[in-house]
Amino acid sequence: MTIKLAPAKSRQPGPFAEIARAFTGLRREETLAGYLFLLPNFVGFVVFMLFPICFAFYIMLTEWSLSKPPEFIGLENFEVMLEDRLFWKSLSNSVYYTVVAVPTGIFIAFWLALALNRKMRGIIFFRTIYFLPQVTLTVAAATIWRWMYQPNVGLINYILGLFGIEGPNWIHHTAWAMPAVIIMSNWQGIGSAMLILLAGLQGIPEEYYEAASIDGANGWQRMRFVTLPMLSPAIFFVVVTSLIGAFQSFDQFLVLTNGGPADATTPLTLYIYNSAFKFLKMGYGAALAAVLFVIILIITIVQWQLARRWVFGFEDN
């Protein structure tokens, strides 16, 4: 026994040998329990996530209308994309939406978090109110706003009229439809950014502000040299998740404007949806989705790279 065991030990055990040993050794009960507990979750994970993702790589290389079997066409979908006016239009719409909605949203969320970060009565009440739109289903929220954006009978143009401003046609106007979606999205989405920033603010020790005050720092300097650096990890997280979220927005575009007028508010996500499920071009839709994924990946990587420069204590983590 011992003689046989010695050379086996010196060899690097393969993964299967390792698993086999785990099932027969002292820990076999724990090994068995470990795999069994993981099993229901893992089956779902493999069948409904891992497999579809791998499958997507194949679909994007085919032409497939579902009625006929898929036809392998290599990278043709990506070549078509380069010439596709609607692809570029929807991509630029997504960028426009993201570049405007994310900074304005974080800016407002930041000031709201600052205002809420004090020991006053009723703070939780205000926090709840700012958060209500966030939990409201987007379909309902967009429906309410669609009614409020009506040019003649809508509430928004009525209120603007009270201040002597003649409101635009909002969702029916190519130039105003996107701002309309952005306003509605920020109204709805600010809650979680505000909450994360607020938690970050509450994590800054009071002593830092006291020390800064003793050193003669004024309000602006305390903000610049204490609040912002200490809050930078939270800001970083909010920036990354908001950028990713903005590129993935779909519901409000479909309900509020349905991409119109004249594709002025068709983002990449809606174009993917239309390609696959309206025009039944599965392969092209999957190829577009791959582009969306690569964009999100690049944003995330770039943000992580930039983070070294401005996020406090980034290297430690």
Partner: protein
């Protein structure tokens, strides 16, 4: 914060205490104005849901309806099969919440506590797929649903969502912080792994379970894009789909008063769930936020 600057300038005229109080007052005013802006769409929804069709198109608009037309709610409810949509939504959300609590807590315990080969590699795979957007998944998943014959069946919106990488991650992170001694004591007393999980770990994980339950409930109740793809027939539609088709089908003179009534009863359960479970929701956002950031 221009308010804060304003008080800075007046420092000479007020003492420190008055300054603070004035500052607080200004903050309250700003918070209230913003609060009104945030609440306005909800107030407008409720107000319009009680108006008559004439009044809803009348100019200038009124905030308090001349006569409260509560029958709008019944009219909207019966205008289409909202009872069916509601039941479907309840079935879908209940199944997904219970299923996710079960699979995520079991797998979380497995990842956090049990030792076996390949564990950390599998966990890494879970985390790395967290950032794959749903848009990438939806086309192959739809093809799969067609293959299974689940299109236009509630199976398609329930079964693929009975497991959750995000929730598993949440459970694992929470369970890692539970002191090992408690479990060891149970193990020495002869508890098997499943009993240890059910009797020791689960009760201690209640806050995290509540967080996961609330998040999952909200996201499944509000889910729109995927049901839109796989559920076409009215018999299987969920509430968001029902509301969407109700407002999209309307013709010339859109019955906005009924649409607002429908929006009200679709939104209300979610607002109640949030206000009741707010504590857990806030914790979920904050902990996952800090973890994701760090």
């Amino acid at each position: 914060m221009s308010a804060a600057m304003g008080t800075q300038k007046r420092k000479t005229r007020f003492g420190q205490k008055e300054l603070l109080r004035l500052h607080d007052l200004l903050v309250y005013i700003v918070l209230s104005v913003v609060g009104i802006i945030f609440l306005l769409p909800f107030a407008w929804m409720v107000s319009n849901s009680l108006k008559s069709i004439k009044e809803i198109y009348r100019l200038p608009p009124t905030f308090i309806p001349d006569t409260m037309q509560f029958s709008n709610y019944i009219d909207a409810w019966t205008a289409t099969t909202f009872d069916r949509f509601f039941i479907n939504s309840v079935i879908v959300s209940a199944c997904i919440v219970l299923g996710q609590l079960f699979t995520a807590s079991l797998a979380g315990y497995s990842f956090a506590r049990l030792r076996y080969p390949g564990r950390d590699k599998i966990f890494l795979l879970y985390i790395s797929l967290l950032m794959v957007p749903f848009t990438v998944l939806m086309i192959p998943l739809y093809v799969q649903m067609r293959h299974f014959g689940w299109v236009n069946s509630l199976n398609a919106v329930i079964i693929p969502f009975l497991f959750t990488p995000w929730g598993t991650f949440l459970m694992r992170q929470f369970m890692v912080t539970i002191p090992r001694e408690l479990e060891d004591a149970a193990r020495i007393d002869g508890c098997g792994f499943f009993r240890t999980y059910a009797l020791i770990i689960l009760p201690l994980t209640k806050p995290a379970l509540a967080t996961l339950a609330l998040f999952t409930f909200l996201s499944s109740w509000n889910s729109f894009q995927w049901p839109l793809i796989v559920l076409g027939t009215p018999a299987v539609k969920t509430l968001p789909l029902g509301l969407y088709s109700f407002q999209a089908q309307s013709s010339m003179r859109t019955p906005w008063h009924l649409i607002m009534a429908a929006a009200t009863f679709v939104v209300l359960p979610i607002l109640v769930a949030f206000v009741v479970g707010q504590k857990y929701y806030v914790r979920g956002i904050v902990t996952s936020g800090i973890k994701g950031g760090g």
